[in-house]
């Protein structure tokens, strides 16, 4: 595999040509915020938080999907990017009902962490306060769509890893929402295996274990790396699980 060289934020790096900018940045501890991306799942480039600037191109590129080419000049942390990222998080915050103070993942939520990361001290657009559906019909789990950011991680993990394909996106535009079994109550789903993978990969408190109280829901995601390594490399490495 060919090795290419390029620069990120003024430093020179080299990498294999099949690596994404995000992978390379992570290898070198260059922080780029992400939300829809999760190692072990397919990449959709949907949330746009990982956008980076590429010299000579007016278009911003998502680091999770874009791959560098020889001589590329990449910037990950310009004022323009910071502004965009903050705006994205603001829009996410205003679109749902994210009451961190009373949320099951308060203190360990990816959206909350992102908000801190981008310096979201207030939201400049009006909150929509939508009235979204909460479904607690499953015996073990709950989906509260008020807290969903439509990252589709649950959809992907269920389809790609568990193979059950319970979840889909229903609706259009601002009315999009996660639906199970073609919009049936979760408790009546015949395809759901109750494995809980969707709950664990969900970055917010949208999917959680029933009975969890404020801040009590910790999402343990190491399982994904374990399964994916086992499947792709036929290596059953317990540490891959424990690392996270």
């Amino acid at each position: 595999m060919a090795i290419i060289t390029f620069s990120i934020d003024g430093e020179h790096y080299s990498a294999r040509e099949d690596q994404t900018i995000l992978e390379i940045a992570r290898e070198h501890k260059i922080p780029i915020p992400t939300l829809c991306h999760l190692d072990g799942l397919s990449t959709v480039g949907a949330c746009r938080l990982c956008l980076v600037e590429i010299e000579g191109s007016a278009k911003l590129q998502p680091a999770c999907t874009a791959k560098p080419v020889e001589g590329m000049v990449i910037r990950t942390n310009t004022d323009r990017l910071k502004k965009y990222r903050r705006t994205i998080v603001e829009l996410l915050a205003s679109e749902g009902n994210h009451q961190c103070a009373v949320c099951v993942v308060n203190g360990h939520c990816e959206l909350q962490n992102l908000a801190y990361e981008v310096g979201l001290d207030h939201v400049r657009v009006p909150y929509l306060f939508p009235s979204k559906r909460l479904d607690a019909t499953h015996k073990d789990f709950v989906i509260d769509r008020n807290r969903c950011v439509l990252c589709t991680r649950c959809v992907r993990v269920c389809h790609e890893v568990e193979g059950a394909h319970v979840w889909d996106i229903g609706g259009r535009g601002i009315n999009c929402e996660i639906i199970g079994d073609m919009n049936q109550p979760w408790g009546e789903s015949e395809s759901c295996t109750s494995c809980g993978k969707c709950v664990r990969v969900c970055p917010t408190g949208a999917l959680f274990e029933k009975g969890a109280t404020v801040g009590e829901m910790h999402k343990e995601r190491g399982f994904l790396k374990y399964i994916v390594t086992a499947r792709n490399k036929q290596q059953w490495i317990a540490t891959a699980h424990e690392e996270e």
């Binding site: 103070a101 009373v102 099951v104 909460l134 607690a136 019909t137 015996k139 709950v142 408790g187 029933k210 009975g211 969890a212 109280t213 404020v214 801040g215 009590e216």
Partner: protein, 479 residues
């Protein structure tokens, strides 16, 4: 020529928790009626609909910044009822500890921070001085002790909740984490100082009873029903037990009532001029079924207090009642509050020394087993009820919260009326600073949990308007 006059007192510097007072005069310039308007919107009941039972302690504890733990405990108890579980012994003891810590913290705030400036510096002292800062200037040690006593209560709450404010540590079925021995010891270390501070507060208040002997009879001195929990054997209670109702002559008119049947005994009237509901005892109707809750009621209705120092003080308190057999004067809310602080300190020590407090079995697991649940406990300001209806998945269909301040609502109006009649200047409908100060102090006896009542570390923002019968402004005062 207009004859009757309306005076309105309203706060101006705060948006949430706003309250105002209207005093209605008759043609002779005498006070005909007084209304303490509480315009707090009780939106919590509405927006908890559709949420999950397990979230309720966390959500409802946000209602009040001063007594979050009372909502935590009461909400968790409503949850126990819906899960249909009995909680482990350790969990109950820990919840009791939390409840008492909340009493201590809130009562200390009420007495030292909010009421002491009035009492020690005088009701007519310069408002710029009549606050906690003025108190510090006047008696630094006294103020410091008060602040530390409150801190003791707060520290217990924080240590139980894992050092985080508002952590919903009580949950349906029990509590979230056991108490670790190091924290138990840290709590115990506070006890001697706390006991001493409450003693000093009691001695100070006794002096004030002498100093204000002339004023005190005007501070809401009337008969009303008194309602609260008593333990199974009739003692002062804070977490569980039965409801007891006593009349203004000291007769127990109902006893051993199951708190879960609250809604059979009490109704809630609504008035167009207040968002706060007006609970009343059904057999007596509205407004005759008016009752008072909180420290004054609790210390009056119980047969004894289980800890020695507080019990001795209760007897002194009871002696104030003379022939009536019941202390009817709202000014003595302060006294009752201090007795409860003493009890809280003694009882906290007992609980902490009980080996069961360190147990590790703390949470009963169950799913939804009832469609309806009621939780009841004694919050610092009086008996508190949470009543939930859920569907089979635990989603709240309807919630009703009956808070102490609402239950004292009618009594607060009576108190304001009495004070206004006594202190209103002459017959010209003119508002005086002296009357404002007394009305403010009168409301403070009840320690209502409105944001405005604790605002500005001492002084309530007030807006007073005098209106005549045709609603023309004759006098207006703002501060």
């Amino acid at each position: 020529m207009t004859m009757s006059t309306t005076i309105t007192i309203a706060p101006v510097t705060r948006i949430e928790g706003h309250a105002k007072i209207t005093i209605q005069l008759d043609e002779h310039g005498d006070v005909a009626d007084a209304r303490f308007h509480v315009n707090e919107f009780r939106g919590f009941e509405k927006f908890t609909e559709g949420r999950l039972l397990w979230e309720m302690p966390g959500i409802t504890s946000r209602i009040c910044g001063i007594c979050p733990a009372s909502h935590l405990v009461t909400s968790a108890k409503a949850g126990d009822d819906i899960l249909a579980v009995e909680i482990p012994e350790t969990a109950e003891k820990l919840r009791r500890l939390l409840t008492l810590a909340q009493w201590l913290q809130s009562h200390a705030l009420s007495f030292f921070h909010l009421s002491s400036p009035d009492l020690l510096l005088g009701f007519d002292a310069d408002p710029a001085q009549r606050n906690v800062f003025g108190l510090i200037a006047h008696d630094k040690e006294f103020a410091r002790r008060g602040i530390r006593l409150r801190k003791f209560g707060q520290e217990i709450i924080e240590m139980l909740g894992g050092r985080r404010i508002h952590t919903p540590w009580t949950v349906p079925g029990g509590v979230r984490e056991p108490l670790d021995p190091a924290r138990r010891d840290a709590m115990l270390a506070w006890i001697p100082e706390a006991r001493e501070t409450v003693g000093i507060a009691l001695a100070t208040l006794q002096k004030m009873h002498g100093k204000y002997a002339k004023d005190i009879p005007e501070y809401g001195n009337f008969r009303s029903l008194l309602v609260g929990l008593v333990s199974k054997d009739g003692g002062l209670e804070y977490y569980d037990g039965f409801l007891r109702i006593m009349d203004g002559n000291g007769n127990t008119i109902a006893d051993k009532l199951d708190p879960k049947k609250y809604f059979e005994y009490f109704g809630e009237a609504a008035e167009s001029w207040s968002y706060l509901k007006f609970p009343y005892y059904k057999p007596f109707g509205y407004p005759d079924g008016m009752y008072r809750v909180g420290p004054l009621a609790r210390v009056n209705i119980c047969d004894f207090i289980e800890t020695p120092l507080a019990e001795a003080e209760r007897k002194v308190f009871k002696a104030l009642s003379g022939k009536a057999g019941v202390v009817n004067n709202s000014f003595y809310y302060h006294y009752a509050r201090l007795i409860e602080m003493l009890f809280a300190v003694e009882k906290i020590e007992q609980l902490l020394k009980d080996p069961a407090i360190l147990g590790s079995t703390i949470r009963s697991d169950a799913s939804i087993n009832r469609a309806e649940g009621i939780g009841c406990s004694e919050a610092p300001r009086g008996v508190l009820f949470h009543h939930y209806h859920v569907n089979k998945d635990g989603v709240i269909q309807k919630a009703n919260l009956v808070i102490a301040t609402a239950q004292n609502n009618i009594a607060m109006n009576r108190t304001v009326r009495q004070l206004a009649s006594h202190f209103l200047d002459g017959r010209n409908g003119k508002i005086t600073e002296g009357m404002l100060n007394r009305v403010e102090a009168g409301i403070r006896c009840y320690d209502p949990c409105l944001s405005c009542s604790t605002h500005a570390l001492g002084q309530m923002p007030l807006h007073v308007r005098v209106l005549d019968a045709d609603n023309h402004v004759v006098d207006e005062m703002m501060r």
